[in-house]
Amino acid sequence: MTLPRQRRARRQRAFRIVTFVVLGAFFLIPLVSMVDFSTRGTAGSGRTGEAWGALLHDPELTAAIITSLELAALTVIGMVLLLVPTMVWVRLRVQWAARMVEFLCLLPLTIPALVIVVGIAPVYAWVTYFLGGSALTLTFAYVVLVLPYAFRSLDAGLSAIDLTTLSEAARSLGAGWFTVIARVVVPNIVSALLSAAFISVALVLGEFTFASLLHYDNLQVVIAFFGKSNAKVSVSASLAALIFGFVLLLLLSLLGRGRKGRRTTAIEPLAVTTPAGKEVKG
């Protein structure tokens, strides 16, 4: 005789297995297909690593990879310089602005990137006038793009430490504001900084909208361009960028787990934050 509870547990397990297998297939097949497609031989048979070799040898592609990596680095620097002092300062001295800063930081989630691009073109005319037409000027737009995600990471990190007490202690020992931020706060939010940096890098490496519509060549623009002439190279470059991004984001989710305090991680877009109800049991 099977009891209703066992039947329910068995039904749940069956449901779980079916769901995981079917959806697992849906998510894995495109990835496996990329491997197959990018290594296919020219005559329709056999395997070749040509498309993967192009990642290192094609001058246009390598230049784009370098541009995107430089952009990622500059965006991280810009994001940290803009966000960390502001967020620390708000917590310590300008508490009334806390909600406003949060609202502003999360705003780019609701204003579509495409809309910002449409409006930012005239602004970029000025940027080009002052700084020249290098693709690296995209950094300015990218800092805005990564703002919500970086904010979430840093906010979680700062919430986990008692910032006021730490800074008061440091200042009573004779530290100035710069020292407080650089020598006391930053070392205590390293993992939050790392997650903010990872998510920023992942977003910048995958960015296409701004670059393509403002006519700069970054990695994604060049991948899309190659699609018309040599789709295999596009696919191999996509897969490479993808794997790199996966690794970064997986590291990020691991970092998120190790952190105490708020459970929101940077990769949750506008998550419904409900503290998990604790189950009590006798």
């Binding site: 005789m1 209703p4 509870r5 066992q6 009590v280 049991k281 006798g282």
Partner: protein
């Protein structure tokens, strides 16, 4: 109060017979037998992990026993699913449905039983009055205090006129003052409706103060089932003796069923140790301390607890004992006062370990 017009249901007998339950190799219940008389409130008391909550969940049908039976009245309900068992249950906390008001929560079970709307509302109102919350009927759980939530949960459980009322540590999430108040409230309501009730708790004060009988559980078994006074004054096992109330464990010699403890010789209640070495179980109030220059013991600590004072002393042979003193005597005791310790008891429980 319209509680006088309350429709109640005759209490029924509940029998737990040889219940066994294992959780991945750990024995939560190891042959539990327990009979609740009709209308009786029985508390299951024990340390965490003793199986008391498991027992309750088996009665509720929220878990299935590996073997054994649960019988309610004449009906074997062992394999009846929880939703057809007709049991009212109050959980530890957070069990109110958050999208419903207090009134709607209480009506929930009646609605499932297709009680018509006006009768349902009337009955729910009556139950809320019974627990003193009629004025909060339209509030949501998030607008009620912890104690109020538990009252609503009690009203909800009783609204369906359950055969049995099950209370799963309903007070443990509340603060001390509310806890004592609600405890007495639960007892008042239970006596009023006369429903057979099983109450699980780890708090002995709770168990002793409102139950008809208390069952002390240990390692999945029932150690003793007795009225509160009997449990305290005549514990049948060393575990019960140590678990209920405070207890001194004093090494002693037993000969021919009599033990010599602190210079006195008293009858041994338990037959397990008839001669040789044993440990006598002595309550603090069975030890009287008196200041005396000739005394061989010394006061270590005096704790004033209001109605009584606890005095910790060290005897000449190095044992620490906890004794109780009344106001007048206690005032004369300070640390290092030499004292005499006297045993006032006719009989004692002596354990072999």
């Amino acid at each position: 109060m319209s509680a006088s017009a309350l429709e109640t249901r005759e209490g029924v007998e509940v029998r737990l017979e040889g219940l066994h339950r294992e959780f991945s190799g750990v024995r939560a219940l190891d042959g539990l037998d327990l009979t609740l008389r009709p209308g009786e409130l029985v508390a299951l008391l024990g340390p965490s992990g003793c199986g008391k909550t498991t027992a309750l969940r088996l009665v509720a049908g929220l878990d299935d026993p590996d073997s054994g039976r649960v019988v309610v009245g004449d009906r074997d309900v062992t394999h009846v699913p929880a939703n057809r068992r007709d049991m009212g249950m109050v959980f530890q906390a957070y069990s109110l449905f958050p999208h419903l008001t207090a009134q709607q929560n209480v009506e929930f079970g009646l609605k499932l039983r297709r009680v018509d709307r006006s009768k349902r509302a009337g009955r729910a109102r009556q139950m809320l009055e019974l627990v003193g919350l009629a004025s909060q009927a339209d509030r949501f759980a998030s607008q009620l205090s912890g104690g109020q939530q538990q009252r609503v949960a009690l009203a909800r459980a009783l609204a369906i006129q359950p055969a049995v009322l099950l209370l799963d540590e309903p007070l443990s999430a509340l603060d001390a003052k509310v806890r004592a108040q609600l405890r007495d409230e639960i007892r008042r309501v239970q006596l009023e409706v006369g429903t057979t009730t099983l109450f699980v708790t780890h708090d002995q004060e709770e168990a002793l103060s409102i139950s008809d009988r208390v069952g002390v559980m240990n390692q999945g078994r029932l150690e003793q089932l007795a009225p509160p006074e009997e449990l305290y004054t005549a514990p049948s096992t060393a575990f019960v003796a140590a678990f209920v109330g405070l207890m001194n464990r004093i090494p002693c010699r037993v000969e021919a069923g009599r033990a010599s403890v602190l210079g006195a010789t008293v009858r041994v209640t338990d037959r397990s140790v008839t001669s040789g070495e044993g440990i006598a179980m002595v309550r603090p109030e069975q030890l009287v301390v008196e200041a005396s220059d000739a005394g061989s013991a010394e006061v270590l600590q005096v704790s004033f607890l209001g109605s009584v004072t606890h005095v910790r002393v060290r005897t000449a042979d190095g044992h620490e004992l906890l004794s109780q003193a009344n106001g007048a005597e206690a005032a004369r005791l300070t640390v290092h006062t030499p004292v005499r310790v006297r045993l006032v008891a006719d009989q004692l429980l002596v354990s072999s370990d």
